[in-house]
Amino acid sequence: MSSVGERHGEATPVGVVVAEVTESELDGAELLRRLGDSSDGAVIVFEGRVRDHNGGRVVVRLHYDAYAGMAADVLQEISREALARTGASAIGVQHRIGSLEPPSVSLVVAVSAAHRRPAYEASAYVIEELKRRLPLWKREEYADGTSEWLGGHTPEAGARGDAMVMRGTE
C-alpha cells in the first residue's frame, strides 16, 4: 500500500511486458493478467475497437497491414518512453493485424501504476504516439463493395524517441 505522500513512480518497475503486433484475437483482461501481481493502486485497460461507420459510410470490415518487424520495435520503444515519462510500473500493448469486422478489438493497452495519474498518462501516451509513428495501415471496406486506404500521419525521422529513452531508467 502506498502512503499519501508517496511520489509517482516509486512502484517497483516491471517494465514493458508485452509489445507486439499479432494476428490473434485480443483480450484486455488477459493482457492485464500478464502484467502480473503487484501492489499498484491503479490499472487501466484500453481496448480500441473497429467502428462500423466512418465519415457517414457503413464499414463492414477493416484490413490492417503492418511492417511487422519494425512495428514491434516501435511499440517497445513507445512503451519504454511511456514508463520513463510517467513513472508507471508496467505496460503491455498489442495491435492486431489482418481482416477485422466491427466491433473486433484492434488494440489493447494495459498499464499498471502506483496511482491513477501515471496510469492514465501512460495509457494515453502509448495510444497517441502509436498513431503518430507505428508503421501500420488500414483499409476500410464499405457496405457498397468499395474500399479505401485511410490517410494518416507522416512519422518524423528520429521520432523513435532516442532522447527520451536516454533520459529513462534503462
Binding site: A66, H95, L136, W137, P155
Partner: protein, 84 residues
Amino acid sequence: MSGRFPVHVQLFGKHREIVGSSVVELELEAGGTVADLRGLLAAHPVLGGWLGGCAIAVNRRYERDESVVAVGDEVAIIPPVAGG
C-alpha cells in the same frame, strides 16, 4: 568506392496494392542518401505520384534525407501511418 548497388525497397499499404508487389528494386550510387533514394522513387512510373507524406525507414528506423544508405540496408517506404 564507386559504382552502384542494388536496394530492395519494401512496400506497404496502398503502395503494395498499386505496384502489385511487396518490393521494388532500385540501384543506388555508392554513398547515396535517403534523398537520392527518394529521387529514384519519384521517377518510378507507378509509385512516383504516391509519395506525398511518406517516410523512409532504413534498418527499421525513420531516417532523414541526408542519411546514407549502405549495401545490405533494410529499406522501406512508409506511407502515412494509421494505427489504432
